[in-house]
């Protein structure tokens, strides 16, 4: 008798606790007063450390700040490299991922994506004059980042290329500089930002071809529809009131270190 009663009490409290545990993430964020976001820390101008303040700043950080401000909470940044993005999200260490996160069907099985806020294509950096056509890649050693779509695309489209994957883009670039690899691959805008900050940028070039068309969105945990629609609404508002353009200008505008024309606005139709 006593055991049955104990079992009933335990089961009952477990049920109550588990339903409490399924409180919405959006509510949790508001209650905690803090939005935890994963961003890059070594990828200008998306997310990098400002040497003067030792804080992480960048395009992705500005978008994250906009969401946090709209929620009325503080922003807490967890620096990440491409390989750890999904792990941080699925193990609940962060609430959102703002790290130039490319949207793919495979990834959609693990995480949800917001409406895209950036568009790019996979490109390459090589020493001047060495890479002219995509077909050359089959004979080269190509540096990539672990856990990125760029690596997967190069592997699928150029099966004879030797791919060496590093933990983050600056490592790959260091390998390019020393000659360990002959080209590195990443999203075009990231490569532009990388070269802008390198002292010997005259030795390198970004060949004009791309091998893909990608869209980047905010990573949202699966099963949080209210959080997802909140992020989507915030992004659309930012575009509507011009803040999105403003943020873009600050990092990629004509006066920035890495000027790039803005070809994609939030809400534009995606070309498949």
């Amino acid at each position: 008798m006593k055991i049955k009663l104990l079992a009933a009490v335990v089961t009952g409290s477990l049920l109550v606790m588990s339903s409490l545990a399924h409180a919405d993430r959006l509510d949790d964020i508001k209650k905690a007063g803090v939005l935890r976001v994963a961003t890059f820390d070594s990828n200008p101008p998306f997310g990098f450390v400002d040497p003067k303040t030792n804080k992480i700043v960048g395009l992705d950080v500005d978008y994250a700040k906009a969401v946090a401000d709209k929620l009325g909470v503080k922003l807490e940044i967890q620096p990440t490299n491409p390989a750890n993005r999904i792990a941080f999200l699925t193990s609940k260490k962060v609430d959102l991922v703002f790290a130039n996160f490319t949207i793919t069907d495979e990834r959609k099985k693990e995480v949800d994506f917001s409406t895209p806020y950036f568009a790019s294509g996979t490109q390459f950096i090589a020493k001047k004059g060495t890479l002219k056509t995509p077909e050359q890649l089959n004979d080269l050693r190509v540096g990539a980042d672990k856990g990125t779509t760029n690596e997967q695309q190069v592997r699928t489209q150029f099966p004879r290329a030797t791919i060496v994957a590093y933990d983050d883009t600056p490592f790959a670039f260091a390998a390019l500089r020393t000659g360990n690899v002959q080209a590195i691959t990443q999203d075009g805008p990231k490569l532009v930002g990388l070269l802008a900050n390198v002292p010997d940028r005259d030795k390198y070039e970004i060949p004009a071809f791309t091998i893909s068309n990608d869209y980047e969105g905010v990573g949202v945990p699966k099963g949080e529809p209210r959080l997802l629609s909140f992020v989507n609404d915030t992004l659309k508002d930012l575009e509507a009131n011009g803040s999105a353009g403003h943020i873009y200008d600050q990092w990629f505008g004509p006066k920035s270190r890495a000027p790039l024309p803005r070809l994609y606005k939030i809400g534009d139709p995606q070309k498949s």
Binding site: A21, D41, S42, F48, V49, P51, T53, N54, K55, Q78, P79, T80, N81, N84, A87, F88, T90, S91, K92, K93, D167, D168, P170, F171, F173, A174, R177, N197, V198, P199, D200
Partner: protein, 246 residues
């Protein structure tokens, strides 16, 4: 060379404490904190494991050996992957990155120390254990009052070695985004881009200072003023000339 020097010098405060106090503690300070917590936890686990090995027999002993063996066989990197990626999924709770690394290091350190503690207890000798028992102490009491104090003195060098390598193993936390010294060194190197030799040499030097001072401090505390033996030459004497006997 001067540019490199001044560039690195400008980053020294960041490398030492991270973005504290504007952000979480990082850099060398975080390394020390993580090493300290892991050291305490692994000492506790090691004592428990060692005493367990000494006091159990049969199936329980074998199971304990197997568990300890598992943690001595798995690479630290893999265990950090496990605790970081899968522990939160299994336990349905949010485990901060710092805790996962400390847990992994404590488990591995504890496994190694269990063997050292066990070896120390065995080295104290059966005679002491039996003397304790013949004095009327229970097995647990003789363990606590007779064997352990002597064993700890024998095992102290092992403990110190383990703690020093803990400081080095914290450098693996960079893989999961914990902002300790190696992680920040990589960040700084990625930003400066053209001074990898200088940055890594400097960080290596920082670790060297940390480890050697920790070693000296711990040896002094645990073993008094007994200095670690200088390596001495091993000299085989020249052959004795065969003398004619009268």
């Amino acid at each position: 060379m001067n540019d490199a020097f001044s560039a690195i010098l400008a980053n020294v405060p960041y490398l030492l404490v991270g973005s504290f106090p504007d952000g979480p503690l990082g850099g060398a300070a975080l390394t020390l904190v993580m090493a300290a917590i892991s050291a305490v936890l692994s000492a506790v686990l090691g004592l428990a494991g060692g005493i367990g090995l000494a006091m159990t027999r049969g199936v329980l002993h074998t199971i304990l050996l197997a568990v300890i063996g598992f943690f001595r066989a798995i690479p630290v990197l893999m265990l950090i992957f496990w605790t970081f990626f899968l522990l939160p999924v299994l336990l349905h709770i949010n485990v901060p990155g710092l805790a996962t690394v400390v847990a992994a290091l404590a488990l591995i350190g504890g496994a190694y120390l269990s063997h050292s503690v066990f070896a120390g207890i065995v080295a104290v000798g059966d005679g002491q254990a039996q003397a304790g028992l013949s004095l009327g102490l229970t097995r647990w009491q003789s363990m606590r009052y007779v064997l352990l104090p002597q064993a700890i003195r024998i095992m102290a060098p092992s403990f110190i070695n383990q703690w020093v390598s803990l400081v080095k193993d914290t450098s693996l936390a960079y893989i999961v985004g914990v902002p300790e010294l190696a992680f920040l060194a990589n960040q700084v190197n990625s930003r400066l881009m053209i001074y990898p030799v200088q940055v890594f040499l400097f960080v290596g030097l920082l670790y060297l200072i940390l480890c050697t001072s920790l070693d000296a401090l711990a040896t002094r505390l645990l073993l008094g003023r007994e200095a670690v033996a200088e390596p001495r030459a091993i000299v085989t004497p020249l052959p004795v000339p065969i003398q004619h006997r009268k």
